[in-house]
């Protein structure tokens, strides 16, 4: 069942390439303005100097440090950690260590989360119906589910905030310090750290799974009550723990495999000609794979839920038709 749903998930994701293109465009559109701002700052700092030659042809670390010493906001995020696989690893590390993103990025990340909250209804509706809904049907579904998902996002936000604001410090500042206070062997302290990452990760995953199935039930069963859907999702997870966990683990394994490949393939510092574009588009391929995986989580979980119903493509509500969705009417009127 798990493997079948996992394969079914991939089938549903690959059957809707427009969704993949859409979310890729979303990440690009949100990242690009900030990248252009940074580009301006780098160009201004390099000015007409010969340091630009070194930075164009490779890397001049002493210049980089000079740049960092003179920048305050967005430029402060332009550190050597943005190069290659360090970027991925650093971002994961920051997340697990509860380090907040730099202030200038918060609004971009917030916008990204809101945009995804909007798109998630359409994406799940598309995967649940397993047939093309066209742009108008897709966005109509987005509109139908947006406010429900927004309410769910508030609930999820509270849970995640509680995890990061209270549980994380308790685990990593309190318990970890207590466990390792008298340790004189780093290896032991590291294993404690890994164990606590596992505990914290398990809590995050548990919350994530429940919220994922809440979304699935909101869409598939056309539920209006977020709380009802949340309770129903919890019930579903409780009744099918092995399947839910198995599917999640399978997807997580693929994620780790993707990271492993990326660790080997991630481009480093290049010149500023064709190699730069090759590196950039290669990196975009990695972003696409990450997005595919994100979508696969949603699609395979939808497939698993539907597989436990009467038939695999069951969606309670009829396909919303533009402009009959409340959101579209609101926008239009």
């Amino acid at each position: 069942m798990v493997l079948r749903c996992w394969r079914d998930g991939w089938r549903r994701v690959l059957a809707a390439p427009a969704v993949v293109v859409g979310v890729l465009v979303l990440t690009c559109v949100l990242a690009m303005p900030l990248a252009l701002l940074l580009r301006g700052e780098i160009a201004a700092r390099l000015g007409d100097s010969l340091a630009a030659d070194a930075m164009a042809d490779g890397v001049a670390y002493t210049w980089w440090e000079e740049f960092l010493a003179g920048t305050t906001s967005l430029g402060g995020t332009f550190t050597p950690a943005v190069v290659g696989f360090a970027a991925t690893l650093g971002n994961l590390s920051d997340l697990l260590d509860g380090r907040a993103p730099a202030a200038p990025l918060v609004w971009a990340l917030g916008l990204y989360l809101v945009a995804w909250t909007f798109l998630a209804g359409g994406i799940l509706d598309r995967y649940a119906r397993q047939r093309p809904t066209r742009a108008h049907g897709f966005f109509a579904a987005c509109g139908v589910f947006f406010f429900r998902f927004l309410r769910l996002a508030v609930v999820a936000g509270v849970v995640y905030w509680w995890l990061f604001a209270f549980v994380h410090p308790w685990l990593f500042d309190g318990l970890f310090d207590d466990l390792t206070r008298d340790l004189s062997v780093e290896r032991t302290a590291f294993f404690w750290r890994v164990a606590l990452y596992a505990v914290f990760g398990a809590l995050l995953v548990a919350a994530n799974v429940v919220f994922d199935y809440t979304k699935v039930r909101l869409v598939v069963e056309d539920r209006h009550s977020v709380v009802g859907a949340l309770v129903a999702a919890l019930r579903f997870v409780r009744r099918h723990p092995a399947r839910v966990a198995g599917l999640y683990a399978l997807n997580a394994l693929v994620f780790l495999a993707v990271l492993a490949v990326w660790a080997l393939a991630a481009p480093g510092v290049t010149g500023s000609g064709a190699a730069m574009w090759l590196a950039f588009f290669g990196s975009q391929a990695y972003i696409v794979v990450r997005l595919l995986l994100k979508l696969q989580f949603l699609a395979s979980q939808t497939a698993l839920f539907q597989a436990n119903l009467a038939h695999a493509s069951f969606v309670r509500a009829p396909a919303p038709v533009w402009p009959e969705s409340p959101a579209a009417e609101t926008i239009g009127g």
């Binding site: 690009m32 010969l50 164009a56 050597p80 290659g84 730069m276 590196a279």
Partner: protein, 671 residues
Amino acid sequence: MRFSFLLSAAALALLLVAGASLRGQLRDEPVTSGPLELGRAGEPAPPADGAVARAGRSPRNASYDIEVRLDHDARTLEGRQTIHWRNIDAAPVSDLQFHLYWNAWRDRDSTWLRERRLVPGYTLPEDGWSAIEITSLRIRQPEGDWADVLDRLRFIAPDDGNQADRTVAAVPLDSPIGSGLTLEIEIAWTATIPRPFARTGYIDDYYFIAQWFPKLGVFEDGAWNVHQFHTATEFYADFGVYDVAITVPDGFVVGASGQQVERVEHDDATTTHRYRGEDIHDFAWTASPRLLDLTRRFEHPALPAVEMRLLLQPEHEDQADRYFAITEATLARYGEWFGAYPYGYLTIVDPAFQSGSGGMEYPTLFTGGTRWLAPADVQQPESVTAHEAGHQWWHGMVASNEAEHAWIDEGFNTFATARVLDEAFPQSRRGLRLFGGFVPWVLRDVPLTRIDHDRLASYRLNAEADEPWTPTYRYWPATAGAITYDKTALWLHTLERHLGWPVLQRILATFFERWQFRHPTPGDFFDVVTEVTGQNYFWFFDEVYRSSNTFDYGVEALRSETDGDDAHRTTVVVRRHGEARFPVEVVTTFEDGEQVREAWDGLDRRVIYEYTRDARALSVQVDPDRVLLLDVDYTNNSRTLEPRAEEAARKWSLTWMVWLQDLMLTYGFFL
């Protein structure tokens, strides 16, 4: 007749032995001790004082015989020591002043902690405080009897008047001690070992014990040079012979300054390890049952051999070769550049995790520092090991006052460390520590250069924090390192590029040769510079030592226009933005490859150069060879008429954009 013959023979034998002993001391050979005696209590060698002591490399005017017992369960030390102190100053001394460093962590009101609390992010520990109490103090003045003077002991605070500080104690003498006379001081004391503070203390069953015994200050120029323990400073003491018997539980591996000369196992499940070090000014030791004890011999065609002893944490066993290799490289380079390491032995301590004892130097012993996961192309443990090994020269032997002029030893050593790393380990890369600092990641595309080892970046951020002539203990605690270490290393590297390495090497070697086993001041170094170069460099030291001015030269304008005759009129305007001055070169490059090199004395605010050439100018650079490493803004030192900033900015902003997309996807987990 028979009796007088025996008497004469005995007298002759005594004279021969004494003569041989004296010749041995006078020859500048490494100290060699007899073979280790296990299980047999031997009489300690007589304290090095008098004629034999004076024959050492150093004045040996402050010698310590110490017996100390570690109580592992109670985390305490109990010690008894006899100090043989000779007044080598011209003036008589009327009191004695001691350091009691461990009282710096007695409570939050000590000067050390008052200053430490000014450093952003510092959190006071909840427990693990320390203290040292003198329980008995007797003094025997020349040709006098022992006098109990404990009741005369009082705490003084010569630097800041802090009445709560107990890191310096003074006791008046019955009568002044004249030049050349020797005092004997007998002290009994107990001390509570702290959890790690300033590289001393315990964690689990690992002990690193430094600055642990009542220690005399330095009497010079008619007064005691004794400072309270400050957070930004280290130590200053006279040379002597240390004979220290350390009693620890059976099974503990002990490493210490000096060389082990005896080990005695006792019936009470303890073992006494006796160490002896000559011509040293401090003594530190470590003890732990889990240390791996490894040795290797350093050999060099032109330098004395050194027995290296590495006390290694078991989890770092795979890094033993790295520790030895960098220590060997440092012994070789420093030996070739400055002068030989004469002791014949050196102990490297790999500190335990969370011990806070890493990266510190003591005579003939130092602590390195590494991590369980330590990639080969990130220089840990190499960087810290080279630095601390190098301190054997700069402070171990050239014993400048670290409380007042810490820049001498720390700065010289940072400069030389960068040089060693650049020569011995050129493949250094920028590394990251992720996931709580446990997981390393090497940025293979970001190589580090010698300038990075000089720590230009941290200097730049705090360039004006303090004037280096200020006594170090008065530096602002949060930025002291930038002035002490970084600025000095950068101006020495600047001198190297300005004078050439052979000249600077001669300066440093002369300074080392002249001041080893003595206490030089900044003026002594400046005098050596003048002597070796034959020039007055006070203008340079006025900038880098007597002021906090920054250097910043730049190109203000570059124009190259045709004058209508197929010739191009090129105008270059260069500018001094900073207050500090240094001669620099200005190089203008033309399209046909011609380069015009101008020497600018760097004094005026700006200088204009004009050229008429067939070719258009391409670029201009101030200080193109980057001689002046203290220039805080090197980007403005060049200007080109074919700028590539947009090209570079495009490349890096695309790289950054991918990072941001990845960040978005990471946060996408929550959706």
